[in-house]
């Protein structure tokens, strides 16, 4: 088991430095735990950061009011369903995809956004800040409408992200260890039938045979992997490689890295062949929407393509799930002029 220090940055040089101290030992234990779970060790000069926990927050030297706001951000991140009907229109919490309260490496830990933004983002072709990045996950992954920029909720969520990045220098030059959902190598061919069979064997006990997941009362226990209660077609995880990376590194729950690369990709391919709420960038025509978004995004998903099993054209519908609109007005371009 690893103890948590507020942070530890490790590089090739640091490891060898005479100053090698408790921090390095903690970092080494952290890496050992991860490699035992099947994750790769950091390569070259990758930046390793152990995000602080909520227990660390209690003992941190921060203004009590700030602590209260960070706790609020944590609460919104792990129970985003409290914004259901206002900002969230599916069964997801932020922590449904960002496991371990947004702290786990290889599960798109969220703190890197706090130290790498503002920056240019290909997905929307302009410079984004942290709030806009968070707004992106609300718009697509939560099939929702982001809280207003600068609102209490937005500020609280950003504060939680920033707290997790505590101690990391702004705009790090090193690559970040465990960022995103790193995908395993893509196998030669992907199979819908194999993906379906593997999903039923390994995933359906929690996510259901129809990807519907499970709710108890107003709480999501198992989120929906597709369908109306899942993320919409614009979410990053609909890209097959992102889904394969998520699955390989995080699922089945509690058993990371237990699936083969082939299984992870087959399941991701099968999932990308299922319907979900419309992409908020939809123009009214699936072929046109595909043309607009293909190069930067949908070339990696099955959106607008014909499903081999029944000839259904994926994304060819006006269904926005529970959300009573297509596109929140926070999706807009910026020109900085």
């Amino acid at each position: 088991m690893i103890r948590t220090l507020s942070y530890a940055a490790l590089s090739g040089t640091l490891l060898l430095s005479v100053n090698a101290s408790a921090k390095d030992t903690t970092t080494q234990q952290y890496i050992d735990t991860l490699t035992e779970l099947g994750y790769p060790a950091p390569k070259g000069n990758e930046l390793v950061h152990i995000p602080p926990t909520m227990e660390d927050l209690e003992s941190a030297k921060l203004h009590p009011e700030l602590k209260r706001v960070i706790r609020r951000g944590y609460d919104l991140f792990t129970n985003t369903q409290q914004l259901r009907g206002e900002n969230v229109f599916n069964n997801m919490n932020c922590s449904s995809c960002h496991l371990g309260e947004g702290r786990m490496p290889f599960s798109a830990p969220v703190w890197p956004a706090a130290v790498t933004l503002p920056n240019f983002r290909g997905k929307n072709d302009h410079v984004n800040n942290l709030e806009e990045r968070i707004a992106g996950c609300f718009t697509y992954s939560m099939n929702g409408k982001p809280p207003e920029y600068g609102s209490d909720n937005m500020l609280a969520i950003s504060a939680y992200h920033q707290w997790l990045a505590k101690g990391v220098a702004m705009y790090p030059e090193q690559p970040i260890y465990g960022r995103g959902f790193p995908a395993p190598d893509r196998p030669e061919e992907l199979s819908y039938a194999r993906g379906e069979a593997a999903f039923e064997e390994k995933c359906s006990v929690c996510h259901g045979n129809y990807g519907e997941g499970l709710r108890v009362g107003s709480e999501t226990v198992f989120p929906a992997t597709w369908g109306d209660m899942s993320n919409n077609w614009g979410a990053g995880i609909v890209r097959i490689f992102t889904a394969a990376g998520f699955i390989k590194n995080n699922m089945p729950l509690g058993q990371p890295n237990s699936l083969s690369d082939q299984e992870s990709w087959d399941i991701a391919y099968y999932m990308s062949n299922q319907e979900r709420p419309q992409d908020p960038r939809y123009t009214g025509d699936v072929a046109e929407t595909l043309k607009n978004t293909e190069a930067r995004f949908h070339k990696h998903s099955m959106y607008g393509q014909t499903r081999e099993t029944d000839g259904h054209v994926l994304g060819d519908h006006r269904n926005t799930g529970e959300k009573p609109f297509l596109k929140p007005d926070s999706i807009r371009s910026r020109t900085f002029e």
């Binding site: 088991m1 909520m54 371990g100 045979n209 009362g217």
Partner: protein, 213 residues
């Protein structure tokens, strides 16, 4: 595998048409339960036995879960000297009936948390509600549902179960003596837990309410 085929293959049955028991009947189940009372008690509340083998509360558990466990004892997939003889006495219909009977009883409060210190209870609560991701211990509620009161037929309610029983089961998974859970989901977690963590989560869960409201 789809849910129904899991059950069918477990019984060696091959098609849905073979699934022809009469519907489960809790009243008939009450009759079979007469021979269970010595241990599981008349109210289905079981008993926490410090230093000995605790008898689990069955009252209010899901019928699907109870039925699976009885089948597992019968087939040997789950082994326990106290239970196997009793499970073996039940035929298919009696299993469904007795499962429906216990599922219909109001859940009772577990014991075994009395006198636990605050640090232990806090650690237990942390494991149950948030887990400890630094050791990849996923929170109990991630699978066992809101307040760990159960989620569907595959993830039993563990809140308000007896501490002695919870601890014994986690230790059994850790030692490889219980391995009848779907896809080794529970085993994967239990093997990452220290003895202290197992004790802490068991006593905290025992102090919690077994059912919503």
């Amino acid at each position: 595998m789809k849910k129904i085929p899991i059950l069918l293959t477990a019984f060696g049955l091959s098609s849905c048409s073979a699934w022809v028991f009469a519907e489960a009947d809790a009243e008939r189940g009450a009759a079979s339960a007469a021979m269970c009372m010595a241990c599981h008690q008349a109210d289905g509340g079981g008993m926490n036995i410090a230093g000995g083998e605790s008898w689990p509360r069955l009252a209010g558990l899901s019928a699907t879960y109870i039925s699976k466990q009885l089948h597992d004892y019968k087939s040997g997939a789950r082994s326990n000297a106290s239970m196997i003889p009793f499970a073996s006495m039940l035929d298919e219909q009696q299993i469904e009936d007795v499962a429906a009977y216990y599922a219909s009883l109001p859940a009772t409060q577990g014991k075994g948390s009395e006198g636990a210190d605050e640090a232990t209870l806090n650690r237990g609560q942390q494991l149950a509600e948030r887990g400890d991701w630094s050791a990849y211990i996923v929170s109990c509620k991630s699978c066992h549902g809101s307040d760990s009161q159960g989620a569907g037929g595959d993830f039993p309610g563990i809140s308000g179960q007896h501490a002695g029983y919870i601890e014994a089961q986690l230790q059994a998974w850790k030692a490889g003596n219980r391995k009848n859970d779907t896809q080794d989901l529970m085993g994967s977690i239990a093997r990452r837990m220290s003895d202290d963590d197992i004790h802490a989560v068991a006593v905290w869960l025992a102090s919690q309410s077994p059912a919503g409201n």
